[in-house]
Amino acid sequence: MVVLNSAKTALVELVDVCKEYRVGGVITMALKNVNFKVYEKDLVAIMGPSGSGKTTLLNMLGLLDRATSGKIVFDGQDVSKLSDRELANLRNTKLGFVFQTFNLINRLTVFENIELPLIPKGLPRNIRAEMVKDALIKVGGEMEWLKKRPNQLSGGQQQRVAIARAIVGRPAIILADEPTGNLDRMSAKTVIATLLELNKEGHTVVIVTHDPEVANCTQKIYVIRDGTIVGEYRPNPDESLIRKLSKD
């Protein structure tokens, strides 16, 4: 295996991580001795068949769940030693999540949705308003969306709002689980282009996807099968969604 980017520091590192789910006596090994590193400014894709453990892996990288065994090192800290509150603070300051179903709150305006991660930071309103606008501009959103409800926007627009929410707190890493899973190809392209743009600006981006055309937009593809990382591939830019749609 060729080690890329060895000069950079690992932002998140999984060492021999196992994750079991127990449901009524039935044990599922979702991750089996996974060793995985995400480096600063990485742009990586994780691919694999359904049920292979992609989301579970993302949960580990995103500090959403604790490993059954093994070690997770985030920004130099062993996270198993951290309390729930400290994990929440890390998620708030260092991580941004993008979900397949957007997970926007429809009773709140677009503005309030993007603002949501800033509330636990206890920032004053005017500063938050600036940060919200900045984030929306970065994802190519329009100011008139701010007053609307998320369900008044198209799927692609909603996902861009969701990305704005993920980056508004200026996190180091953006973790996206099937961000294009619910979108048509054109919308998928703008969303991926947005993520690539954010990566260029310095954000680390991890994308879980089924779609090879999406994976080919990244710099590195990991393939996971039955809870084990089985390979690491270089993407083929010619087969990327962005390239293909530009040709059409």
């Binding site: 989301t55 769940d65 729930d84 929440a88 998620r91 999540f97 709140l108 206890g122």
Partner: protein, 405 residues
């Protein structure tokens, strides 16, 4: 947590409530019943109790009334005995009877009370003359009348000083009522409005001198003896002296004892009322808990997303708890306002005491203490009802944000 955050959490809670406003409204209505009942009943009962106690005490802390029971006649000897008790300052017999007064075209029921005027004004401290003067001993035909006799309820005047009043009273011969007779007396003075009372209701009473009682009413037997103690602290001694001598031949009523009885009765009513409204509060707790637990379950994913975004367990707990507290705050405000409103309506209808034929109106007793206690109790409904749902919400794992079903 800084002030910005608290305001933001309040805003988030209000938004969440407004999304399910029908449910929130119904729950709030449910919460408002407890404070409504508590404020309304407590203030009405408190108002009447205070009113009665005040009136009774104004009748004189040191006043005692003695009435004969059936088959007993009060004699001069009895009067002398009462006067001989060292603690007694004054004792005068009185006559009382019901009559019908012709006033223009209408006939109204009046009480006639013949008693020593000095004793009367001494015993009922707040009794004041508004027109005329107290008739002298020789002016047997002159009377003092209550406000409601000289004036209609509308304030329209019916009689002026020196008018002749014609009253029908029962004719009494040998202690038996044998018919009716008409009586003419002169209006010598009009009292200021007194506002209802017990045993005597000065506003609709015609007061006469004892001499007039004997001569005009033709009553040979006294209706009772009015006693003043030298000091309120002697009342008990006098009452027990009289009771041990006369046992059940005389009824001895000390006004201060009435006040005590009323106070203890109303505190019992208050306690019952409090316990009853507690059940309303308990139901409200259950209702709040039910509403909140459904709200939390419906928002499992949303709360998971908030967790993923970096909200801590205690922030989620606080946010959900704020929702139920908000409902209880609104429920409390609405309930207390309606309770105050209802208390005024309820007490404006007046309280009728059967037997004495007396209706009086007392303002509800709304104290800041009652309001604050009720509000705290109502807020605790939100706290207790919201506790379990808020705890459940705080334990929702952040991974649910990434689950797709």
């Amino acid at each position: 947590m800084n002030p910005y955050m608290i305001l933001d959490f309040i805003r988030l809670s209000l938004k969440a409530l407004s999304e399910r406003r029908v449910r929130a409204l119904l729950t709030t209505v449910g919460i408002s019943i407890g404070p409504l009942v508590l404020v309304m009943m407590s203030s009405v009962v408190g108002g009447y109790s205070d009113y009665i106690v005040e009136k009774v005490t104004s009748l004189g802390q040191n006043a005692i009334a003695i009435f004969p029971n059936e088959n007993y006649k009060i004699s001069d000897e009895d009067l002398q005995f009462v006067r001989s008790i060292p603690e007694v300052a004054k004792a005068e017999p009185f006559y009382s009877i019901q009559g019908v007064l012709k006033r223009g075209t209408e006939e109204i029921k009046v009480s006639i009370f013949a008693v020593d005027y000095t004793l009367l004004f001494e015993a009922i401290g707040s009794l004041k003359i508004s027109e005329g003067k107290i008739p002298s001993e020789t002016e047997v035909l002159y009377s003092i009348v209550g406000r409601k006799i000289a004036f209609k309820d509308s304030g329209e005047r019916c009689f002026t000083l020196n008018d002749v009043l014609t009253i029908d009273v029962p004719r009494i011969e040998g202690g038996k009522i044998t018919g009716k007779k008409s009586l003419n007396i002169i209006l010598g003075a009009i009292l200021e409005e007194y506002g209802g009372a017990l045993i005597v209701d000065p506003d609709s009473t015609i007061f006469l001198s004892p001499e007039a009682g004997r001569r005009l009413l033709g009553m040979r037997d006294w209706s009772g003896i009015f006693v003043l103690a030298r000091d309120p602290s002697f009342v008990r001694t006098i009452v027990s002296t009289l009771r041990s001598k006369y046992e059940d031949r005389l009824r001895v009523i000390a006004f201060s004892a009435i006040a005590e009885t009323i106070s203890s009765v109303t505190s019992a009513i208050d306690f019952i009322n409090f316990s009853t409204s507690l059940s309303a509060f308990a139901v409200a707790v259950a209702g709040t808990a039910a509403t909140m637990i459904t709200a939390v379950m419906e928002r499992t994913r949303e709360i998971g997303v908030m967790k993923a975004i970096g909200y801590t367990n205690s922030q989620i707990l606080f946010m959900v708890l704020l929702e139920s507290i908000m409902m209880s705050l609104i429920g409390g405000l609405v309930g207390i306002s309606l309770g105050v409103f209802g208390a005024h309506i309820l007490s404006s209808r007046g309280l009728s005491i059967r037997g004495i034929e007396l209706t009086f109106v007392a303002n509800p007793k709304i104290t800041s203490n009652l309001i604050v206690q009720t509000m705290l109790l109502t807020i605790s409904v939100g706290l207790v009802g919201g506790a379990l749902p808020a705890y459940r919400a705080s334990k929702i794992p952040p991974v649910v944000a990434l689950r797709y079903e």
